[in-house]
Amino acid sequence: MSEIWIVMLSVGVLTFLTRLSFIYLLDKLQPPEVVPRALRFVPVAVLTAIFIPELGLQNGELMLSLENIRLVAGIIAVLVAWRTKSALWTIGVGMVSFWALTWLMGAIASSL
């Protein structure tokens, strides 16, 4: 078996077991009372922790300035998501903002 298949099967099985972990465990044992209340925050906490570094970091370094196009377009997308609650609008407006800002930055850079 080639190396890549060893990697794929191992990561595939480990990921499956990770996804199964608590579905299996919470069947067998009664969780403490705090657990159901804590679980309510899983979606917001994990999903935010995924997207914020995509906006605020460039090559692993903090980049909080208007020159960071991903940050500015991301903030616009957050506002659209908050107002519309629509994934289509959020992704659409976010991507168009990203392209417009890229163009604008290019235009500014070439006029200096």
Binding site: A45, P53, G74
Partner: protein
């Protein structure tokens, strides 16, 4: 419990799940295509690149794995990295566990396989709304299969189109936008707002941790802050 909601049939739930997942595909499709492009340019054979999308079926770890292939990293290093990046799925597992408790082992097996970020995020909102339908696992199945199909097809498109996918369009940014579209509508009170805010800040502050462990650290901070703010 709402009598009308009780009557939502499995097929209706399944279709609602597909419908709920569809808008998210706008962000997932470019990401799958970029994975296909990166995988083949890292030297993976066409079928290996395609197979990873169903064997591993977790976008961010697939990205990391093809980068490590490119760097010629040792096998054990790739396995550990892929495993740790996907650890956040344990939180999803805990989150859906109470809702799937009554299901057969076969159902649990299938839904476990389909428990990706994007299917989980859409389905958990549906689980958490107050309607009392007993068939919500069909919603998760519909959402999960929709995402799975999209992931396979967009991988294939990326492999096929290869270098024709323009790298300077910043299409990888759709990943961040997808998660914004999933996270922001889930904020519905002060506790969830503070949970989100603190998780975001913590993810930045712990950015130095290896294997993207900042994500797990940030999630735990967010959950703790949410609980604390609810208490007060």
């Amino acid at each position: 419990m709402d009598k009308a909601a009780d009557k939502i049939s499995p097929m209706q739930e399944f279709l609602l799940g597909i419908k709920g997942e569809l808008p998210i595909l706008l962000g997932v499709t470019p990401f799958g295509m970029i994975y296909g492009v990166l995988a083949t340019s890292a030297g993976l054979a066409v079928w290996d690149a395609q197979a990873m999308s169903s064997v591993v079926f977790a976008g961010s770890s697939q990205f990391m794995l093809v980068q490590l292939v490119n760097l010629g990293a040792p096998v054990i290093m790739m396995i550990i990295t892929g495993f740790i990046i996907n650890l956040r799925h344990a939180l999803y597992s805990a989150s859906v566990a109470p809702y799937v408790r009554h299901l057969s082992p076969l159902w649990k097996f299938i839904l476990t396989y389909l428990l990706t970020d994007e299917a989980y995020a859409v389905a958990i909102m549906h689980y958490q709304d107050k309607s009392g339908s007993k068939n919500k696992h069909w919603f998760l199945l519909g959402a999960g299969l929709t995402l799975w199909s999209c992931w396979q097809l967009s991988t294939a498109a990326g492999i096929f189109l290869g270098a024709q996918v323009p790298p300077n369009w910043g299409l990888d940014f759709t990943l961040a936008l997808t998660f914004i579209a999933l996270a922001v509508p889930a904020i519905n009170d002060k506790a969830s707002f503070l949970s989100s805010l603190s998780a975001g800040l913590a993810a930045l502050l712990t950015r130095g941790l290896p294997f993207k462990l900042n994500l797990i650290a940030a999630a735990l901070v967010g959950i703790t802050v949410g609980l604390w703010s609810e208490r007060r």
